[in-house]
């Protein structure tokens, strides 16, 4: 069984991250909020962000999705803490690139989240991996617009 590719995507850290996600829940107080969907599979992600002095100082997500989307949301929320919206936008672009290509020069900007690069071998799962990141970029640049 050709599980090598699978193993590259489902690294232990990812399975673990999805099972024990960080920043899972809701915030009492927040500046930005968005609900995004992956309509073809029904995944829903609800994201809340609070900002202080132009930097993300708290974040939480809820909703449901597969291992990849949950792990990705967990890693994303961890990585954007203390970043400015502009920095986050750049990170999201880098992340998108990484997931599509499997490798990018500035992957270290993504910290632990770079572990998701194995997704690039599963093009059908790219949307799962990028959902949370795109939501963050959208809510921070479009100021709280939701899709409903």
């Amino acid at each position: 069984m050709a599980l090598t590719k699978l193993d590259q995507m489902y690294r232990a850290v990812i399975l673990d991250e999805a099972q024990h996600p960080r920043h899972h829940g809701v915030l009492a107080d927040f500046d930005h909020e968005i609900t995004v969907r992956n309509p073809s599979c029904g995944d829903v992600l609800h994201l809340q962000i609070s900002e202080k002095d132009g930097r993300v100082n708290d974040v939480a997500f809820s909703g449901n999705g597969c291992t990849i989307s949950q792990a990705s949301a967990s890693l994303m929320t961890d990585q954007i803490l203390d970043k400015t919206p502009a920095e986050i936008e750049q990170m999201v672009e880098t992340f998108s690139d990484l997931i599509i290509k499997g490798d990018v020069p500035d992957a270290d900007r993504l910290g632990d989240a770079a572990v998701l690069k194995g997704v690039h071998q599963f093009p059908a799962r790219i949307k799962c991996a990028t959902l949370a990141w795109k939501a963050a970029a959208q809510v921070l640049t479009e100021k709280g617009k939701t899709d409903d």
Partner: protein, 398 residues
Amino acid sequence: MREQFPFFKAHPNLVYLDTAATSQKPQALLDSLQNYYINDNANVHRGLYKLAYDTTEAYESVRQQVADFLHAQSAEEIIFTHGTTDSLNLVASAFGPHAVPTGGRIVVSGAEHHSNFIPWQQLAKRQQATFVVTPVHSDGTVDVPALLAAITPGTNLVAIAQVTNVAGDTLPVAKIVKKAHDMGAFVVVDGAQAVAHMSVDVQALGADFYAFSGHKIYGPTGIGALYGRADLLAKMPPIQFGGEMISEVRDQGSTWADGPIKYEAGTPHIAGVIGMGAALHWFQENVDAAALQVEHELANQLRTALRAIPDLTVYGNDDSLATVSFNLTGIHPHDVATFLDEQQIAIRAGHHCAQPLMARLGIPATVRASFGIYNNQDDVTKLVEAVQAARRYFHGID
């Protein structure tokens, strides 16, 4: 059987278990499409030259063939559409306002596909009608007594699948129709998941409308049909305009052709109609009740084998036909699908265009394996083994 499907020669190691989404195609269909485009290609209903005339005859003869296939009274009751969704939307747009007065009542089951749900939901909205979605059992099958109870006096229209697309259960359509007709309601039946797996007799069912898609019964994409009782079609205005659906076009008004072509505006999907005819012909020649029984038994074998796996929920029951949905506790269906795909097993994971059902079951999605006439024992064995492996993999059991 399988050797009649070139797809399996091209994919010798693939376990294709997504026939409920779309079926693979027999050589007979491929031949028919090639033959059409090489020998018979001409526009229909307009040409006086022989080629165009013969193509029109062939096109219209498929109408009779579909009528016979569904046991309709006449070919005049068969409208060619682009598929089940198109058929159901046509009824909702053209017949809906006639059937459902302002403030009326529409009943659908809680297990309907979006295509047999949203058109009625939106019709209800336009008509300020009550839109009733009936309960399902915890295994995803329709709660038939509750459905029957919902069909009260004052109900105008009932929309149900003959076979549902997640749990694969078969609804007692004749019984539902009887109740509905007693209450003065019309019944629209979504046959998308039925026609390839059981024989259908619209007159015995008493259905007022019946819809299906060619691509789910070994036919081409982009084509389907709508059966409508002749007396009801007579009341139905066209909703698309242009081409041959007219009797006379004047500057300030037009009159319409009689019969089904009234609803077939524009150049039809001629190759699709001819191809659907070839596929139905192939189906009737090659797939008998015994073959369908084998297909059903494969599905039951799979259900039995899956039920033996710990932490696994199977939807549907042993009366369910060729569709088997399940979930592994704690493992998202998408992850299962990817795992299986890596082992060359094509199954579907998702809401299957049945979000109202998912909401009722309190789940976001299921894994769904569905059978076609080309599947075999080996496919079942491979899937079961792979599901067990997936469970071990994601639960970290080694």
